[in-house]
């Protein structure tokens, strides 16, 4: 009896498991790309979100003025706009929209949709968390703060249905880059309004307009289904202007939070691309499956924040000593595989290559600490290094050991759950903290603007008038080369003060199946979904 039941069970399992083709094989036939996307997006309304996870999906559903190029970060293929021009100072821009542009429900896409989108995101009542991304526009900040109420004074105007005029408060030579961020995307005015409270409220916060079934987009794909923690399914948008060249029938985003699970799923043929390969697995997979492993630079930096308002840590010498005691190469070789050691905060991007100010120098570190009054770490207070409970314990323990072995300084580790970690950082209720920052666009300002006095992302207590003057000067500079030179100068000043200790430029380690074509390394990692194809 038992034996019969067992053999039946085995048979059933084999039937169920053995012969069935893998998800990837089925998806290859259906031309559906399955990508790991780490976690669920907070929302698909581009005006309510701030993250990279959301960006990956929104870029499939909506398209900005300028599109992403699959091969390089530095090309600006036309998106919703076919051409654009600007004045020599880079402050006045005119975008010419394509005449055949339409929403996925057939409604024509016009410049008014862009103006509507900027109006909505900047509307004080909407309280969009990332309205700051539009502050490049003239008067945008004043409107967002409620200081002016007439949106006509803000620098975004529809000259006619197909001409969008942008006036900026200062020169922004990299504006085409910025417009690729979802905060600059159009939203379907007719749909957003239809779902709002009285049918005409622009600032209504939660309406179901971005739900599956309601969301109308202008991107290569349309939203089909969102099941929490399970998948977000998109299908090809036949009304996309370039639909003829879109080879995929859909992209499925899978929120796999556990990257070990994701890797296993990939190897079992369930995913075309993973979000992240856990560092301990990098070497193993490079040896066993070199055809899958991708290691590419990315614009994100791992660093350590120092609370410069704490006694002792307020001394630049102490901070520099802590920084020089970190053997970044050793960390990147053995723990943060795929990252590159760095001595500054901004990764190289295009023409901007900042100097690396700090590097591993144990003797120099010791001397500096002694100069600060703590020879061999004697009398140095017991500080704590804050980390989030999901952070890399190995990194922190290695840092702890480096400080102890080089400087004789004992730093305790203080792990916290994510919410408490964020809260402690923002309240400056910490000594030292392990942190990271991901750039939003390819310009050093995305890494440098946050270290000003009242910026909510500074969280170090450090500020400098000279630094802010340099940034302001750069902001008014319309010559791109001089502008970058000023940034470089500012970055040097910031790094010499070391309110943050840079550790490494993050690399993207992930797995990609070879049948995914036209997927190239990109710094911002914004692979245009519409340009990809599956060729098994």
């Amino acid at each position: 009896m038992i034996r019969r039941a067992l053999s039946l069970l085995c048979l059933l399992l084999c039937l169920a498991g053995c012969q069935r083709e893998t998800q990837v094989e089925k998806a290859n036939r259906d031309k559906i790309l399955i990508v790991g996307n780490s976690t669920d997006p907070k929302s698909l309304d581009p005006h309510l979100v701030t993250g990279v996870i959301e960006s990956n999906i929104i870029r499939a559903l909506l398209e900005g003025l300028v599109a992403d190029d699959p091969k390089t970060d530095n090309a600006y293929p036309p998106g919703a706009a076919t051409s654009w021009e600007h004045n020599p100072e880079f402050t006045e821009w005119t975008f010419h929209l394509r005449h055949d542009g339409q929403w996925s429900d057939g409604t024509p896409l016009t410049a008014h949709d862009f103006v509507f989108a900027y109006h909505r995101l900047l509307h004080p009542d909407l309280a969009g968390p990332y309205a700051e991304m539009l502050y490049f526009l003239k008067n945008a900040e004043a409107f967002n703060r409620g200081e002016i109420t007439d949106f006509d004074q803000v620098g975004a105007k529809a000259i006619d249905d197909h001409t969008l005029h942008i006036s900026l408060k200062e020169p922004v030579p990299f504006l085409p880059d910025i417009t690729r961020h979802y905060t600059w995307f159009p939203i379907p005015r007719h749909v957003v309004l239809r779902f709002s409270k009285n049918g005409n409220t622009i600032s209504d916060r939660f309406t179901p307009w971005s739900d599956a079934g309601n969301l109308v987009g202008n991107g290569p794909f349309i939203l089909k289904e969102w099941r929490f923690n399970d998948k977000i399914e998109t299908a090809k948008n036949p009304r996309y202007w370039n639909a003829a060249n879109v080879k995929l029938n859909g992209v499925r985003f899978v929120p796999v939070e556990n990257f070990y699970t994701e890797t296993r799923g990939f190897l079992a043929g369930q995913l075309h691309a993973t979000y992240q390969l856990p560092p301990p697995l990098v070497d193993k997979l490079k040896a066993e499956h070199p055809e899958f492993v991708r290691q590419e630079p990315y614009i994100a930096t791992d660093f350590i924040r120092i609370n410069t308002t704490r006694p002792v840590l307020d001394q630049p010498k102490v901070r520099m000593a802590l920084s020089k005691a970190i053997d970044r190469k050793l960390l990147c070789d053995h723990i943060l595989q795929g990252n590159t050691p760095c001595g500054t905060i901004t990764p190289d991007m295009g023409d901007y290559q900042p100097d690396h100010i700090v590097s591993y120098d144990p003797q120099g570190a010791k001397d500096l600490l002694a100069e600060a009054g703590f020879p061999d770490g004697k009398g140095f207070p017991r500080f704590k290094i804050l980390m989030s409970s999901s952070g890399s314990r190995g990194t922190v323990e290695a840092l702890q050991a480096m400080w102890k072995q080089t400087l004789g300084v004992m730093i305790d580790v203080q792990p916290m759950d994510w919410g408490s970690y964020i809260s402690s950082q923002q309240k400056l209720d910490f000594d030292i903290s392990l942190a990271a920052w991901t750039g939003d666009y390819l310009d050093p300002s995305t890494f440098l603007l946050m270290w000003t006095k009242d910026n909510g992302n500074n969280n170090t207590g450090w500020h400098s008038e000279e630094y802010e003057n340099l940034l302001a000067e750069a902001a008014h500079q319309s010559n791109p080369a001089q502008r970058l030179a000023l940034f470089k100068q500012a970055e040097r000043l910031f790094m010499e003060a070391q309110p943050v200790l840079p550790i490494s430029f993050r690399g993207r380690n992930y797995l990609l199946r070879p049948e995914v074509k036209n997927w190239h390394p990109l710094l911002l990692d914004n692979h245009p979904w519409g340009a990809l194809s599956l060729e098994p």
Partner: protein, 308 residues
């Protein structure tokens, strides 16, 4: 009997109320702001958002407002999945957890209890040592270890079942997660059953029966099973409530869209409406499970039955 049920119902309402209140204020006391993402926003935007959610009111006002909504059957909207109804989130995840939990518990009971009985009947014999050693392995190895091992071995190497993912319509995908979860509980159940059975087997009436020449297996099934199951049943109740309201480790190891991941995420992000929604659901399950356990206890113990 009716009186017992009615009085229990009244107590349950009280328990739910106290649970809601304590949880609400505990979550309010947590450091951190649910509206705060990993990027800071300017204070004027934050202030608007806080006003929108009524965070500018006193905690007591927020409590009464939310409670009265909750009593009307509206658990509100999530902060983390911004604007999504809590009912929709739980409505998607709970059936998954329930299905996984029921299958896993079935595996646990159908392996654990017979194993415990056999071990008790063959006390200190080979079968006993063997089955209890296996059970101890199940107890010593946490599911974040057994899960990946089973997935790599049965799933990826032997291709017996999918090593990843969950599909309510494809029973093959249930196999590994339910097995991992079920085996852990089976181990506990077998140990408890064995202990309970041994306790009963040494009671006087068993000796009498044995002296009268009643066969061993018959004593076991007819006379001891009831009393012997008491500890196991006391354990199953809350364990069942826990297992069907989601288990983070299994969900994360096998990529299952269950309640456990939502729950942990909601706590990490201070997503009060979701925390309260899941807690109340779990509370209701615990109350029901413990009530059923108590009823089962009465049924298993004839003398209590008389008293009731």
């Amino acid at each position: 009997m009716l009186k017992v049920i009615l009085s229990r119902l009244f107590q349950s309402i009280l328990v739910m109320f106290v649970l809601y209140t304590i949880t609400f204020f505990l979550v309010k006391a947590l450091p951190g702001n649910p509206l705060q993402g990993d990027k800071a926003m300017p204070p004027h935007i934050m202030a608007k958002r806080e006003a929108y959610y009524g965070f500018d009111q006193s905690p007591l006002e927020q409590y009464t407002r939310q409670l009265s909504k909750f009593l009307q059957g509206d658990p509100g909207f999530s902060f983390r999945l911004e604007g999504r109804p809590v009912a929709e989130i739980i409505g998607q995840a709970f059936p998954v957890s329930l299905q996984l939990g029921v299958i896993a518990m079935t595996i646990a009971v159908s392996i654990g209890i017979p194993a415990g009985c056999i071990a008790a009947a063959r006390k200190n014999g080979l079968l006993d040592t063997l089955s209890m050693s296996i059970a101890m392995i199940g107890i010593c190895l946490p599911s974040f270890v057994t899960g990946p091992i089973l997935a790599e071995w049965l799933g990826r190497a032997l291709k017996l079942a999918p090593a990843y993912g969950w599909d309510p319509a494809k029973p093959a995908t249930w196999f590994l997660p339910a097995l991992t979860l079920g085996l852990a509980y089976a181990a506990y159940l077998s140990r408890l059953t064995r202990a309970g059975m041994l306790e009963t087997l040494s009671q006087d009436f068993v000796r009498t029966a044995r002296a009268k020449g009643v066969p061993g297996w018959r004593i076991l099934v007819r006379h001891c099973l009831r009393g012997g199951l008491i500890p196991a049943v006391a354990y199953i109740g809350p364990a069942f409530a826990g297992i069907v309201s989601g288990s983070l480790v299994i969900e994360s190891v096998f990529q299952i869209p269950g309640l456990g991941r939502h729950f942990i995420k909601s706590i990490e992000t201070r997503d009060t409406p979701v925390i309260l929604g899941v807690t109340m659901l779990y509370g209701a399950l615990v109350i029901t499970a413990n009530f059923l356990t108590d009823l089962a206890g009465i049924w298993l113990n004839p003398r209590l039955r008389k008293a009731a």
